[in-house]
């Protein structure tokens, strides 16, 4: 994972102004998708994957009933905290970037969850999951690369 300082110190990106539809007037603040924003959304996907792992672990080890069962279940609480952090990071990321570039990157969450689930829950690995991971990484890379050219 990139350090946020490193990302912030990189030059302001040259965005896809040339490809913009001429009739469309854009907010100059959010026309470019900064590397910092892309880095923040990447961080979101890692925290989002952690949230899913926590929530699943919590749900599988639910002891008490109702609200009490949720409030005394630390993995479940950790999962919700991760989701909260995630939302805040996403808002900060969206300030300096296009929604259409940043939002699809969130699909990388599937990749981390698919890689981590066999480790934490003993889920099976199969050819479909490997293919899925491959296509998502390829797709997200294409969207990211397109935003920088």
């Amino acid at each position: 994972m990139l350090e946020s300082d490193t990302i912030a110190s990189l030059p302001i990106p040259v965005a896809e102004a040339l490809e913009a539809a001429p009739e469309v007037q854009q907010d100059p603040l959010s026309r470019h998708t900064s590397l910092r924003s892309i880095g923040l959304v990447l961080l979101c996907t890692v925290i989002g994957a952690a949230a899913q792992i926590f929530l699943r672990y919590g749900a599988e080890h639910l002891t008490g009933a109702g609200i009490r069962g949720i409030l005394t279940n630390w993995p479940l609480l950790a999962g919700y905290v991760c989701l909260g952090i995630n939302t805040l990071l996403l808002i900060v990321a969206l300030r300096n970037g296009q929604l259409s570039v940043l939002y699809p990157i969130i699909a990388l969450t599937y990749v981390w969850v698919t890689i981590l689930s066999p480790i934490f829950f003993g889920d099976t690995v199969n050819i479909y999951k490997i293919a899925g991971v491959f296509f998502i990484v390829l797709g997200v890379s294409l969207i990211g690369a397109g935003s920088r050219s």
């Binding site: 896809e16 490809e19 913009a20 539809a21 469309v24 007037q25 854009q26 907010d27 603040l29 959010s30 939302t87 996403l90 808002i91 900060v92 969206l94 300030r95 296009q98 929604l99 259409s100 570039v101 939002y103 699809p104 699909a107 599937y110 698919t114 199969n126 050819i127 479909y128 999951k129 490997i130 293919a131 899925g132 991971v133 491959f134 296509f135 998502i136 990484v137 390829l138 797709g139 997200v140 890379s141 294409l142 969207i143 990211g144 690369a145 397109g146 935003s147 050219s149």
Partner: protein
């Protein structure tokens, strides 16, 4: 496995609500330098819609085949691309459309793998 229509409708609805949540978060994020009265309702609305969509997803994914439902989950990315153009004037380009299609294929395979 037969996927109930109710599951499909829940997931379909969740994908639309989730994409609108992203639109509100973006709209709020763009106004963060303005007084809070301008961004707070948008960010608050976005967070509320995100919560609503995740509740609907959980309800929808409880029953039915992930091979059918996962691709419907990823429809949210398609709606978001459309809203980005419509509400924020962001351009479509080949990289975005092709990349998104690969993401949809990937999510479909992951659904297939999680059966």
């Amino acid at each position: 496995m037969i996927t109930p229509l109710s599951s499909m409708l829940l997931v379909f609805g969740a994908s639309i609500i989730g994409s609108l949540a992203a639109v509100l978060l973006k709209a709020g994020a763009d106004l963060l330098h303005d007084p809070w009265q301008r961004w707070a309702p948008r960010l608050g609305g976005g967070i509320a819609l995100f919560l609503a969509s995740s509740v609907l997803y959980v309800m929808g994914l409880r029953e039915g085949s992930l091979t059918v439902l996962y691709p419907m989950v990823s429809l949210g990315y398609v709606w978001t691309l459309v809203w980005s153009r419509l509400f924020f004037g962001e351009p479509f380009n080949r990289g975005k459309v092709a990349g998104l299609m690969l993401v949809l294929v990937g999510v479909f395979f992951i659904g297939l793998g999680n059966r």
